[in-house]
Amino acid sequence: MSTVSLAQFHQTFFEESHEGLDAMESALLALDGGGDAELVHRIFRAAHSIKGGAATFGFPDMAAFTHEAESLLDELRDGRRAVDAGIVELLLRSVDCLRGMFARAQAGEPLADAHSEQLRQELAAAVGRDAAPKPGAAKRAEAAGTSAWLIRFHPHQGMLAGGNEPLRMFRELAELGALKVEPALEKLPALASLEPSDCHLGWTIELRGKVARAAIASVFDWVEGECDLVIEELVEAAPEPAPVATAPTVAAAASAPRASREAAAEASSVRVGIDKIDSLIDLVGELVITQSMLDTFREGFDAQRIEMLQHGLAQLARHTRSLQESVMGIRMLPIASVFNRFPRMVRDLGQKLGKQVKLDLVGEHTELDKTVLEKIGDPLVHLVRNAIDHGLETPDRRRAAGKGDIGTLRLEASHRGGSIVVEISDDGAGLNRDAIVAKALQRGLIGSAEGMSDEAVAELIFQPGFSTAATTTDLSGRGVGMDVVRRNVVDLGGNVAIRSVVGKGSVFTITLPLTLAIIDGLTAVVGDEHYIVPLASIVESVQLRGEALRTVTGGGELFRFRDGWLPIIRLHDAFGCASGARSEIEQGLVIVVEGEGARVGLFVDELIGQQQAVVKSLEANYRRVVGISGATILADGSVALIVDVAGLIRQQGRRKAA
């Protein structure tokens, strides 16, 4: 019955446990490099909380598993056992195993499996205890019960101050049977010397009724060591073996009911700091005030009050903007949740490849939109794997190159203007131009590297189907290339660039928008329609004259831009909205945009201004449309579509290829 009301806390329990596991993992990794007591405490605390929660919320398998890990940690904490690599390894595997258990808990599946059971026994063996399953519930020695007891109860001085109240105990005894209470007053001091919180009273209690000794002892279980207690049989009866004050009151563990399925259904949620909520509430308050101020104009308006109206409108604009920023802020989470997985990964990879890697994490508190955060993990993992696999050298090679044995891998996140920048840098060998050129030639990506700048060569690694590893290891291999990394980042509205110096290392720079929910864009008119072109992908807009245009065979149009020729995409053709659209290139405008590493010109009728657009999903409301990333509502209430520049370029490439 209690499970019903407890299910509502499952999601919170899962979320905080994930955080706990992350904390355990990073502390374990730190411990690996020579730890201190606080780290062990932190790990212990996390394990302890998970165990307590698991037991309380009805996950006995998880509680049993964590119990063993906790016992081991307890030995570390007490100094009964020294931290060594083996234990760290075992505990790290336990963290992984618990993650698996949580995943199964969320899916409503049985938590324990052969793997977890084996690991549990390993932990138990490490603790030096019998790995036999724990008995579920404590048995309560419940004998027939005697009909009369004599209890001598003499509290020590400090018992009352500690909150243990004889009145409570006597009330409980009275529930067991009839009481006769005789106080012992001999030790009462003089009033002047009495410290009221000290206890000087004692009692002899006669309890009549069919009561087991354990039932009496449990009344006094909190005051063991705080009183002198003797429980004697008053009348002849069978001897009772149970000792005083050892009656554990655990009865729930054995029959913990299964979590209900519906509770396991995962709801996506964000944990928001109370300060963020408070600031929202403040802002809404401000808005309400402004609104009521503006409301006064309803009663009548004259020219004298125009200044007040302007003031009110300015205030409204300011508050609306602040409110928007605050609401967006709710979705912002620190990148630490992504960075946290790397210490473990880097350690494992380094061991596997025989490389020594020091990982520096910088700017972990930099906040990103939750959606961006969720999707940036895979590209980052790939870049980190790549840096360790291809970038950093083995200690031998590093020594030969005059560098220290230990390579440095640095992940740094920061805010730069309206963007988030994540840099992955290593002090490894840098890109090998010859190897890249050879591979690109072999793959037919280029005809010749003659005259290609180092930057242009470096760009080649982002081309589909490119891989420089002589032997594909199971690390960077996996059939995923740098082209996919770039694709993923571009899909998030960002970009990846690389800088590399031979012998010194490489830096991959990922630039990401702060949020996916709002974009800055230029509003373009095409016929009767409005389109938003994201500002991030715009290079510039130009008005073309005839001589800058060229038509190539096959119907493609090119225009001269700086030193080269770029293809033109007529938006009215691409989106099929020719009605009312200008067809003469010279009459309209060409917006030069960049995406997928390529530039094209988008032909539109005219530009009417820059604006922030709140992105509404087309997929959610209609269906996915090639070349369109979403829609937004304009100030006049009409709908404008947001151009997906990268998608449009891809589509145009396919058309050209066909």
Partner: protein, 120 residues
């Protein structure tokens, strides 16, 4: 009903305790660690404090020690929420001035029974 302070760094555990006690009509305040509990206790006099043992910033045992130095918290019941495996921690808590303990795992009924027991 009674004014109760629930102290636990685990939001789910704290939530469960607070939810259960509020359901029984108690006036429940929550604190995330020992330090915040001590701060709360300074501003308000609680009839009962329920606290986890292992917490960051200030653990439950230091919290009890701190509360017991405050004259108005002499004799106020303070229960530690603890797991059965740590008898020594129980004793450490007792030595610091805790009244008793509630063994994890506990369900709402056990919690209510214990609170009723302490508050009389």
């Amino acid at each position: 009903m009674a004014k109760i302070l629930a102290v636990d760094d685990s939001a789910s555990m704290r939530g469960m305790v607070a939810f259960t006690l509020r359901g029984a009509g108690h006036d429940v305040s929550e604190a995330e660690n020992g330090q915040l509990a001590v701060d709360a206790a300074k501003g308000s006099r609680f009839d009962l404090v329920l606290a986890d043992v292992n917490m960051p910033v200030m653990d439950g045992i230091s919290m009890v020690r701190e509360l017991r130095t405050m004259p108005e918290y002499k004799g106020v019941p303070i229960l530690m929420l603890t797991t059965e495996s740590h008898t020594d921690r129980k004793m450490e808590g007792k030595a610091a001035g805790a009244t008793g303990w509630l063994v994890k795992p506990f369900d709402p009924e056990q919690l209510l029974a214990t609170v009723k027991r302490v508050l009389g």
